[in-house]
């Protein structure tokens, strides 16, 4: 049995083939194949033996196709999906890079633009406070502010939609 998954990482798509061979798994990415012997040690923590003996651990948490993987305390935010089942990635469907969401739970302390306003890439649009630190959230593209859902003084959850910038045509 073999299946190819698409892994979206830092805006790039990677094709990863997973093949079950006699209880082991051969995993191929960019022409490199490694054999994995996986074990779920506890909770969401996988203990792998790679290529027979190399020990590697990773925490892998899925919310549908969204994947948070923690390897040696490096957090990877990925999307993993079966390309036969989906053509468009979630973040692109949700508005591409123009969408600003709350990167963590926090409180909105400033909204520096209004709907219809032109903004430049890198311009600070919203200020959010968490853990006594204020953080500016900046536009990732040049464009026009289409929608603002962030309200000053309001507590927001991680991932909550705050503001949408659209490219000008």
């Amino acid at each position: 049995m073999s299946r190819v998954y698409t892994v979206l990482f830092e805006e790039k798509e990677h094709q990863v083939e997973v093949k079950s061979v006699g209880g082991l798994y051969e995993v191929t990415l960019d022409g490199v194949t490694r054999s994995f012997s996986p074990l779920l040690a506890k909770g969401s923590l996988y203990s792998f033996l790679i290529d027979g003996s190399e020990v590697m651990e990773a925490d892998v948490i899925f919310r549908q196709d969204n994947c948070e993987l923690n390897l040696r305390n490096v957090p990877y935010r990925l999307e993993v999906f079966d390309p036969r089942r989906r053509a468009v990635s979630q973040s692109e469907a949700a508005g591409g890079h123009g969408l600003i969401t709350a990167p963590m739970p926090g409180k909105i302390v400033d909204v520096r633009v209004a709907v219809g306003e032109k903004v430049e890439k890198g311009q600070a649009l919203v200020v959010i406070e968490a853990m006594k630190m204020q953080n500016e959230l900046a536009a990732a593209i040049d464009g026009v502010v289409k929608e603002i859902s962030a309200k000053v003084g309001e507590a927001v959850e991680s991932g909550q939609k705050l503001l949408l910038v659209e490219k000008e045509d």
Binding site: R3, Y5, V7, F9, H14, V16, V18, G22, G23, L24, Y25, V27, L29, D30, V32, R34, F36, S37, P38, L39, L40, A41, K42, G43, S44, L45, Y46, F48, L49, M56, E57, A58, D59, V60, I61, F62, C67, L69, N70, L71, R72, N73, V74, P75, Y76, L78, V80, F81, D82, P103, M104, P105, G106, A130, M131, K132, M133, Q134, N135, S158
Partner: protein
């Protein structure tokens, strides 16, 4: 005559890892520990570790950990005879110290008058100058507004440093290199000063470029004895916030060590200081040193001093507060071995160090020889968004600097937090940078090496993507072992997914 009074019960007016640290000192001394908590902290580790716990109010610090009335009410309800303020929150608030004393309780800290004098960075500068100790050029009073800040900055000359008078931990501090950035920086510094310290006083001084941040730990008792416990090197900073500390400093010469330590004792004696305290200095590359400020409280990085001197600083604080003499002399205190501390923050190094509160999904503890963890979280705890991002302090001790760093690296390889993003990877990489390994770094260290520090090996990324695809595959094919009762997964079921490669002898 100093009155002696045995303390039987201490209320800890703080939360998280430092509250747990103080509770541990109480336990060691057979003193009952009383915790206080805000809404999101009912299940916090400091509550779970205490003998008693009292609810204060909502999450907002003003309604909980900064609320003097509620803290005193909890102290009264519990029958505590002393209050330990930890660090941050009300630890350098003279009014709080006064109110505690007026309520007939022992404040585990210096006399309120000394907090007024030395707790303010501005006041301490004045005293230091009067005592003939060199200080960094700057002004000696709080700025009225952004306009005055601009005016003074122009006079001193850019770059300048804006600092909250009541500051600490890099809060309310902003360095400004150009005129145009000053007004917004002033605003942010003042906002942080208010939300962190309830005090909007901000002043300005010349930014000394590329200095070492060296501090001296002192202990004074109510009988006039003051000793130093040598120095800590705190030059690894990001946004003026200490990240990695070590003791002894690999940079200063024995002469500088003697100079800053003697200066610390002299200053503390000059004001009649008692309690644990820290004299912070800047040391430039020519080993010139300037007095920077005094912290009239316990310091986050106190464990490295405890490890190289063998003296428990929190226990010493408590004994001093009881009116006991120190019980040791300067010549009894020696630096033995080397200690390093990494502050573990809930922040995402890969996204501009954004704060990362949230649920701790899993945790792997670093243990073994030479390792000390002062920890404030546990698996299942929801790290609140309302307070400082410090989760734990990881400390490594070794016979010498090399061993201490090796052990720290080992501990970092064992330590794992899933859920909130942390700076653990940042630490691991920072300690690998040759400048750090060789002990040749100043306060520019992180800026200089940030890119290298945040590099992730191509091989690791490849493995991560492979592991993610495989995990997805296993989940979709339901080869993931089911959870057993109690939410614990059965590790013994590995045969479902693992193949054994038996060796034949």
């Amino acid at each position: 005559m100093v009155t002696k009074r045995k303390i039987k019960k201490i209320l800890i007016a703080n939360r998280g890892e430092i509250a747990v640290r103080v509770i541990r000192a109480c336990r060691d001394l057979g003193i009952k520990a009383v915790a206080v908590f805000s809404d999101p902290d009912r299940a916090a580790l400091h509550v779970r570790r205490a003998d008693e716990a009292y609810h204060l109010g909502p999450a907002s610090p003003k309604e909980s950990y900064l609320n003097v009335e509620k803290l005193l009410a909890a102290a009264k309800a519990s029958g505590a005879d002393a209050i330990h303020p930890g660090y941050g929150f009300l630890s350098e608030n003279a009014d709080f110290a006064r109110r505690v004393t007026e309520a007939g309780l022992i404040f585990i800290g210096p006399d309120p008058e000394i907090i007024v004098k030395m707790g303010s960075k501005i006041g301490a500068r004045q005293i230091a100058e009067a005592a003939g100790v060199p200080v960094v050029p700057g002004i000696k009073h709080a700025l009225k507004d952004a306009d005055e800040a601009l005016e003074v900055a122009k006079k001193i000359g850019f770059p300048v440093l804006l600092k909250a008078a009541a500051g600490g931990g890099g809060k309310g501090m902003r360095s400004v290199r150009e005129e145009k950035d000053l007004k917004s920086a002033f605003q942010m510094a003042q906002n942080e000063a208010i939300s962190s310290f309830k005090d909007d006083a901000v002043y300005v001084e010349k930014l000394v470029e590329g200095p070492h941040h060296i501090e001296v730990q002192i202990l004074g008792d109510k009988h006039g004895n003051v000793v130093h416990l040598f120095e800590r090197e705190c030059s690894v900073q990001r946004r003026h916030q200490k990240v990695i500390e070590e003791s002894p400093s690999p940079f200063i010469t024995p002469e500088t060590r003697k100079g800053v330590c003697d200066m610390a004792v002299k200053l503390a004696k000059a004001v009649g200081y008692y309690n644990a305290g820290t004299i912070e200095c800047l040391v430039d590359h020519q080993q010139n040193y300037y007095f920077l400020e005094m912290n009239t409280r316990l310091q986050v990085e106190h464990p490295i001093t405890e490890m190289v001197t063998g003296i428990d600083l929190v226990k010493a604080q408590i004994r001093i507060a009881e009116g006991e003499p120190l019980g040791f002399k300067q010549e009894d205190i020696q630096q033995r071995g080397h200690a390093v501390e990494c502050r573990v923050y809930a922040e995402d190094p890969f996204h501009n160090f954004m704060p990362a509160p949230g649920m701790v999904i899993d945790m792997q503890y670093p243990l073994g020889p030479g390792i000390r963890l002062d920890n404030g979280i546990y698996q299942g705890f929801q790290v609140p968004m309302d307070y400082d991002p410090i989760l734990a302090k990881l400390v490594a001790y070794g016979e010498n600097r090399e061993e201490a760093i090796q052990r720290m690296q080992r501990a970092l390889s064992e330590y794992r937090v899933s859920g909130p993003k942390t700076n653990l990877y940042f630490h691991r990489r920072a300690l690998e940078i040759p400048d750090f390994v060789q002990g040749r770094y100043d306060t520019h260290f992180i800026d200089k090496h940030m890119k290298t520090i945040l590099q992730v090996s191509h091989e690791d990324t490849q493995k991560a993507l492979m592991a993610a695809a495989l995990a997805k595959h296993l989940e979709e094919n339901k080869t993931r072992p089911p959870a057993t009762a109690g939410g614990v997964q059965d590790a013994s079921q590995w045969r479902l997914t693992g193949r054994k490669t038996s060796l034949r002898g």
